[in-house]
């Protein structure tokens, strides 16, 4: 069986190319559909792992510090992410609360845990136990992680309420913003490079 490890397939039109090694600022495109084949990823495994830990810390901030607090005539209320899920769950749409919990809390934390698991073994140039299923789960979880959606929603709420009430964005909101950006970077498609490295 021939070794096809260094081939790459365009995900838009299934054209097969040889893998090339890119340097900074370089991107390879599919000649048939002009879709992006490969992009230079400046992150080493070690950097990825470090950023994953950072993201984990940010996740803790985002979940334990209030995202925002509102203040109306002395009536003060502040909410963390978990509070918002609880608030949804007491209403008639408990199911939505479950979805929200998965999308903004559970999926990201699983992604981070899997990344840490896989990357810490990759740092030692080893495949982690259950490497295959971990990699597949990372791929499965990606569409379920909707931190950026949550961030947008929170920011819309902050701007809209700002005229009516005193709205104070909390530490949680900033942590959430940074976390959602890092998640895009860390848990994107580039993770498939690990298949080639290990």
């Amino acid at each position: 069986m021939a070794n096809y490890d260094n081939l790459v397939i365009c995900e838009h039109c299934d054209c097969v190319y040889d893998k090339v090694t890119l340097v900074n600022y370089q991107t390879s495109y599919c000649s048939r559909c002009d879709g992006v084949l490969q992009r230079f990823n400046g992150l080493s495994v070690e950097q990825r792992l470090a950023l994953t830990f950072t993201a984990a810390v940010l996740w803790i901030f985002a979940n334990f510090y209030p995202v925002m607090s509102i203040n109306l005539q002395g009536l003060k209320s502040s909410a963390t992410l978990w509070d918002s899920v609880l608030a949804l769950s007491v209403g008639p749409i408990t199911f939505i609360a479950l979805v929200a919990a998965i999308a903004i809390i559970i999926a990201p934390v699983f992604q981070l845990l899997l990344l840490m698991w896989v990357l810490s073994f990759a740092l030692a140039n080893r495949r982690s136990p259950a490497f295959k299923s971990c990699m597949r789960w990372l791929e499965t979880l990606r569409p379920w992680s909707m931190l950026e959606v949550c961030l947008l929603g929170a920011m819309v709420a902050v701007f809209k309420l700002a005229g009516l009430l005193d709205v104070l964005p909390g530490i949680g909101l900033f942590a959430l913003a940074v976390l959602s950006l890092m998640m895009i970077r860390l848990a994107g498609r580039d993770i498939r490079d690990l298949w080639g490295i290990l």
């Binding site: 080493s44 070690e46 950097q47 470090a50 950023l51 830990f53 950072t54 810390v57 940010l58 803790i60 901030f61 510090y65 005539q73 002395g74 009536l75 003060k76 209320s77 530490i171």
Partner: protein, 551 residues
């Protein structure tokens, strides 16, 4: 060293390579910074975290975990982190997380209460909580001891610690309509309020604690009198009808007023926590001090209906004491029921008279035996007690001490305690006696005999009358008939056309004529007196030419 041709240039040797077992890239700074930030946040919040205390409230109304705040001077000093039932399910425990700066609120005597809208007679409070929700109000204590558990007050304390002013304690028999928060007036200006009240340890009185705000607390002096200004003071006197009250709110919620008597020399502002008596009303409060009380006993042999405890005791019309007891007694010797009346008198209330008496008699008011002896001499001079009627309508009695020099002498027992003042019957009693003696005299009159005589006289009279009717009256009747006949004939005689009258007229005419001829005769005789002797000459002229013609 020489280079040989065979020696080509030496290949560079390989530099020794050391492989570090761990090579740490700079990227790890990022998570480290994140962790440091996290740690700093945690440390900061730990540093900010003040003590946690537990408040015990009767109900959890208005308390919400993580929402209800604790405020002092409207600044948040903590939040309720948990509200749960107490172990015995009789109250609610609220766990409070105080901020670091509010550490002093853990002093043992700090106070906590729930601020909610309240409408009372004294006003409306806590309106702002209608929007913001209830919060817990706090007040710092002053004790140096710290506590973890506090009992929440049901009502906000009227005075916060550290407010300038003074506290005073007022002793009274009952609370009246005074309540916590009732105003304290000085010259009708509210200058303080009632902050607490409690029963005495033995339950025989009430201690009311009042707080007078600075700077008006300076007007509370050593001589100041406090009185209950609740309700209306209605006075009916010779000057008419007077209604007095401090203010409308004192009518509703009660109140206390204070003032020093007009004449109070060497008055000093009273010290903190000084105790005063709370009088019933302004009049008793500002009355001159009663001085030393003297207990006396009176013994009446009459019914004392209308004599009540607290009835006044007057000396020559000046009130100077009151009745303290009215008891029925049994006299073994006389087998009668006298009434024992205990009175207390305050000789000092006699004022000038008392002072002069002390001076003149060199009497020491504290020498009891001498005082009794003095009373003894007064009794020698006729001092007697009498129960007099103060009000004829209601029959209220009062005790009057007066001098009756004519009163019977009595022996005064100067050893008995309390001293006994002899009594004489009351004025109404005397009146009754007089009436009784009068009735007795009337009783003694021989009414029956008088009645018998009168009866026989009447019988005689009736007999006489019968006789009169039977015999005298018919005679009278016939006489009257005769009289009537006589009168009738007389009237017929005098009638216009009666012959008698005709004759009378003729007779009268004749009489007239006769008198005329007599006059002529007299005239003639006047002119001719000689004719009496000689007779009438023949040529004599007619007697009177002017005379009317004869008929």
């Amino acid at each position: 060293m020489t280079l040989k041709a065979t020696d080509g240039p030496k290949l560079p040797g390989k530099a020794p390579i050391k492989t570090r077992r761990f090579s740490v890239s700079l990227v790890w700074i990022v998570p480290i910074v994140a962790v440091l930030v996290g740690i700093s946040l945690v440390v900061h919040s730990l540093m900010q975290e003040g003590p946690t205390i537990t408040l015990n409230f009767k109900t959890g109304s208005g308390l919400t975990a993580n929402k209800t705040v604790v405020k002092y001077r409207n600044v948040v000093i903590g939040t309720v982190s948990d509200v749960e039932l107490s172990d015995d399910q009789k109250s609610v425990n609220a766990t409070i997380k105080l901020v670091k700066q509010a550490e002093s609120f853990t002093r043992e005597d700090s106070q906590f209460w729930v601020v909610r809208p309240r409408i009372g007679a004294g006003g409306v409070s806590g309106i702002d909580t209608l929007l913001s929700g209830d919060y817990i109000g706090a007040d710092i204590g002053q004790s140096s001891a710290r506590a973890k558990k506090f009992t929440g007050l049901e009502n906000p304390p009227p005075i916060t610690y550290g407010e300038p002013g003074k506290r005073f304690t007022l002793r009274t028999q009952n609370l009246g309509s005074v309540d916590i928060g009732s105003p304290v007036y000085y010259r009708k200006i509210p200058v303080g309020q009632v902050v607490a009240y409690a029963l005495d340890a033995d339950g025989k009185g009430v201690n009311i604690e009042v707080f007078i705000h600075a700077p008006n607390d300076a007007y509370v002096t050593e001589n100041t009198r406090f009185w209950n200004a609740s309700g209306i003071d209605v006075n009916v006197g010779a000057n008419g009808f007077a209604v007095k009250t401090e203010s409308l709110s004192s009518l509703l919620v009660g109140g206390i007023a204070f003032r020093a008597p007009e004449y109070s020399p060497n008055d000093q502002p009273a010290g903190e926590e000084k105790a005063f008596d709370l009088f019933e009303d302004q009049q008793t409060a500002l009355a001159p001090p009663s001085g030393k009380a003297q207990y006396l006993s009176l013994r009446f042999d009459q019914s004392l209906r209308g004599l009540k405890v607290d009835a006044p005791v007057e000396f020559l019309g000046i009130e100077f004491g009151k009745v303290v007891s009215v008891n029925l007694d049994f006299d073994v010797k006389k087998r009668s029921f006298p009434v024992n009346v205990g009175i207390v008198i305050y000789p000092q209330r006699l004022g000038q008279a008392h002072l002069k008496m002390l001076e003149a008699l060199k009497h020491d008011p504290n020498d009891e035996a001498a005082g009794i002896k003095l009373i003894g001499t007064f009794i020698e001079n006729g001092l007697r007690a009498q129960a007099r009627s103060g009000n004829l309508l209601t029959g209220q009695l009062y005790i009057a001490l007066d001098f009756y020099p004519k009163a019977e002498k009595v022996v005064f027992d100067s050893t008995a305690r309390p001293a006994t003042i002899p009594t004489i019957p009351g004025s109404l009693e005397q009146l009754q006696e007089k009436l009784e003696s009068m009735v007795n005299k009337i009783n003694q009159l021989p009414i029956e005999r008088i009645a018998g005589n009168l009866d026989s006289n009447l019988v005689e009279l009736r007999k006489g009358l019968t006789q009169f009717n039977a015999k005298t009256l018919p005679g009278v009747q016939t006489t009257l008939a005769d009289v009537s006949k006589t009168l009738q004939s007389a009237s017929s005689t005098l009638a216009e056309d009666s012959p008698q009258r005709e004759q009378l007229t003729q007779t009268l005419d004749e009489l007239g004529r006769m008198s005329r001829s007599l006059r002529e005769l007299s005239d003639y005789l006047g002119r001719h007196p000689e004719s009496l002797l000689r007779g009438r000459p023949d040529n004599a002229p007619p007697m009177d030419l002017k005379a009317p013609p004869r008929n």
